[in-house]
């Protein structure tokens, strides 16, 4: 099996993605779920950089710009997500995700 | 330190580089860069560790003199018994620190407790990589050097949190949280105050920013950034924020004894404490170095006639002057309360820095103005700087006039 550097980068990012996914799926703590999601986002960023670096046009820098925007949005996401966690904590005195189901049908 | 092909420079200027090259010339070509880098690291570490030792002494001496006492002046040289005006004091302190008992509280997170000072020192040292110490002395030439500097600086907050949390002491933890609040609050004005420089210089590279300040108006007046309205304001904001970022008086709440015991340092003793102490001084040196680079013309000589003095000499002089001001301020001002501290950051420095951004933008846009318009340019920029300062300053100090104590 002949793997190019791009393959390795993508494998790296999918491994990170799945770690984040498993974490988000298995943990009950909202903060950890949020962190798992952040990990998945980072894995996506790694993909973007890998394709930029080994893709056809590294000089254009589209990947870098994308990642830059993605980081900014991730920051916003983290801020809002953690604010929600704090709000949930104030409301139900814990942050167990499975208990935050007051809106169920 | 390999920024420039330095053969064209005078001997004195390229002396450090030449020395290093001489040391590594016997190595094969492919190994040389590694040896060169290592030598640079060692050199920086040695220089700043010595500076740290001398600074602790100088600080105590200056504080003493301000309070009309001599400061430490007795520690003799080991085995000789000769007093050297206290020059051996750092040595004595170091020995004391090394031989003190290292106490880790029961229930503390031992790994993090150990890691915190190490990480703090490591991040502090990292910041030294991008400061141009001289015309030919820039350890790492980075395109985004300024960003690197502040990224490395931001990571120190994590170390402080580690220290506070790992101690398993509620005072440590509270103090660490408070320190974090302080550091994050002041990171904003710190970054905002340097954005105008980046805006005007059009570069994030420290060497380029310094190069751009190397011109003289009428051949005598240096065009450092601090000598513009926005640069002056930016430098002051930067300086105040740097005081807070390096936990210096009057913003030394995180580790002041009269606050939460000794803050996140409460449970540290011996060598770990010394590491914290060292990291603090390194941080102070690094921020001063950055301030010199961004605002005070870096290694540029103040007038062209004095350019024969090697550039690193000028850098050192400016750095030491700035460090002296740090100590002078410590000797002068009483500590702020935590609410005053955060209010100063959010209600005064941040808006001021934002306005300063507009001033710098105006400065860039009006760079073509000449004749009477140059006068108008200064007038407008000065008004933009001074007006908000007066308005915000009045609001900040509202109700804080001299009080009369009736029953005291």
């Amino acid at each position: 099996m002949n793997l190019s550097p791009l393959h390795l980068c993508l494998l790296f990012s999918s491994a990170l993605f799945c770690v984040g996914l498993i974490g988000a799926l298995s943990r009950g703590n909202s903060i950890l779920v949020l962190l798992g999601v952040e990990l998945m986002l980072n894995a996506g960023n790694i993909n973007l950089i890998a394709f930029w670096r080994f893709g056809p046009a590294p000089a254009e820098g589209t990947g870098v710009l994308f990642v830059l925007f993605a980081i900014a949005i991730a920051a916003a996401e983290a801020a809002v997500g953690l604010a929600l966690v704090i709000a949930v904590h104030r409301h139900q005195r814990n942050i167990r995700l499975q208990e935050a189901n007051h809106l169920r049908g | 330190m390999s920024a420039h092909p330095a053969n064209a420079l005078p001997l004195l200027e390229r002396l450090p580089v030449a020395l290093r090259d001489a040391c590594t010339s016997w190595l094969p070509e492919s190994w040389r860069w590694l040896a060169n880098s290592l030598l640079s690291i060692v050199a920086i570490f040695v220089v700043f560790a010595t500076l740290f030792a001398l600074l602790t002494l100088a600080e105590r001496k200056i504080l003493g003199r301000v309070q009309n006492r001599p400061g430490p002046n007795r520690a003799p040289l080991p085995f000789l018994g000769i007093r050297t005006y206290g020059l051996a004091q750092p040595l004595a302190d170091g020995i004391k620190m090394l031989t003190k008992e290292d106490i880790v509280p029961r229930g503390a997170d031992r790994v993090l407790h150990f890691l915190a000072p190490v990480a703090l020192l490591a991040f502090s040292i990292l910041t030294f990589a991008v400061i141009p110490y001289g015309r030919a002395l820039l350890p790492v030439e980075l395109d985004a050097a300024v960003l690197y500097f502040f990224a490395a600086g931001a990571a120190t907050e994590l170390a402080i949190f580690m220290a506070g949390w790992a101690s398993r002491n509620k005072y440590s933890l509270l103090a660490a949280m408070r320190a974090l609040a302080q550091l994050i609050s002041y990171e904003l004005p710190l970054l905002l105050s340097i954005v105008p420089v980046v805006l005007v210089a059009g570069s994030l590279s420290t060497s380029e920013i310094v190069e751009q300040q190397g011109t003289w108006l009428f051949g005598v007046f240096p065009q450092w950034h601090v000598f513009t309205p926005w640069g002056f304001a930016g430098f002051l904001i930067f300086f105040v924020a740097a005081l807070a970022e390096s936990n210096r008086s009057p913003f030394d709440l995180p580790e002041a004894e009269s606050e939460l015991i000794a803050g996140h340092l409460t449970e540290y003793s011996g060598f770990k404490y010394a590491l914290f102490f060292m990291a603090e001084y390194f941080g102070m040196c690094a921020l001063s170095g950055m301030g010199v680079t961004l605002f005070l013309g870096g290694w540029q000589a103040p007038i062209p006639a004095l350019a024969f003095i090697p550039s690193y000499g000028w850098f050192a002089a400016k750095l030491l002057a700035l460090l002296f001001v740090f100590m002078w301020i410590r000797a002068t001002f009483p500590r702020l309360r935590i609410d005053q501290l955060t209010r100063l950051a959010w209600k005064f420095l941040v808006p001021l820095a934002l306005v300063n951004l507009f001033t710098a933008a105006f400065w860039v846009l009006s760079s073509g103005w000449a004749g009477p318009l140059a006068f108008a340019r200064w007038l407008v920029a000065g008004t933009l700087v001074l007006g908000p300062f007066l308005v915000l300053g009045r609001r900040l100090s509202a109700g804080l006039g001299p009080r009369t104590y009736r029953y005291a």
């Binding site: 790296f12 298995s26 962190l35 990990l39 056809p56 000089a59 983290a78 953690l82 | 395109d143 949390w165």
Partner: protein, 171 residues
């Protein structure tokens, strides 16, 4: 393909995995900080130095801090004990789902004939990045700025204590 990359990748994934498995939230957060730093190292390795520093500044410097604050602000009271570990009832489906996603991804990656372009010398400086940001992507930049502002304001509104009339503390 260098040793450096493998090292970075291993450390990043390993720290992330350990962080996701730990019971202690603070350690998890700190380890995730390390993992994010690993991602920054990857950026550095890939030649995107600006991104690397931005990643450190944003993730290690800011998001870690916010996470730690959130952890400390939402600590369970003493009687509730430590964070519950992943219960078996959730862990198994999680592993199955994650494993299947990983399998699909790996299969897809390995199976696809990705051609790597002949590497031209990288010349994407910060200056070019700035020109790109302020030129063709200026609109996106403004939108992202507005988004950040709104998100932060929203975060403050959400996290701020409610008005006195609000229902709070249903205990």
């Amino acid at each position: 393909m260098s040793l450096a990359f493998l090292l970075i990748a291993f450390l990043t994934v390993a720290t992330a995995a350990v962080a996701m498995a730990l019971r202690n939230l603070v350690r998890s957060a700190l380890l995730l900080g390390a993992s994010w730093a690993g991602v920054a190292a990857f950026y550095l390795w890939a030649g995107a130095e600006f991104l690397a520093f931005a990643q450190v500044l944003v993730y290690v410097g800011a998001i870690s801090m916010v996470v730690l604050f959130a952890v400390l602000l939402t600590r369970p009271s003493r009687d509730e004990g430590a964070v519950s570990p992943a219960s078996a009832g959730r862990l198994l489906p999680a592993l199955i789902a994650g494993g299947s996603v990983l399998g699909v991804l790996v299969g897809a990656i390995v199976g696809s004939p990705l051609r790597t372009a002949a590497k031209p010398p990288l010349a994407f400086t910060v200056r070019e990045l700035g020109l790109q940001l302020m030129g063709p992507h200026a609109a996106s930049l403004v939108v992202v700025g507005a988004l950040l502002t709104v998100a932060l304001l929203g975060a403050v509104v959400i996290a701020a204590p409610g008005r006195p009339g609000d229902r709070e503390d249903p205990r």
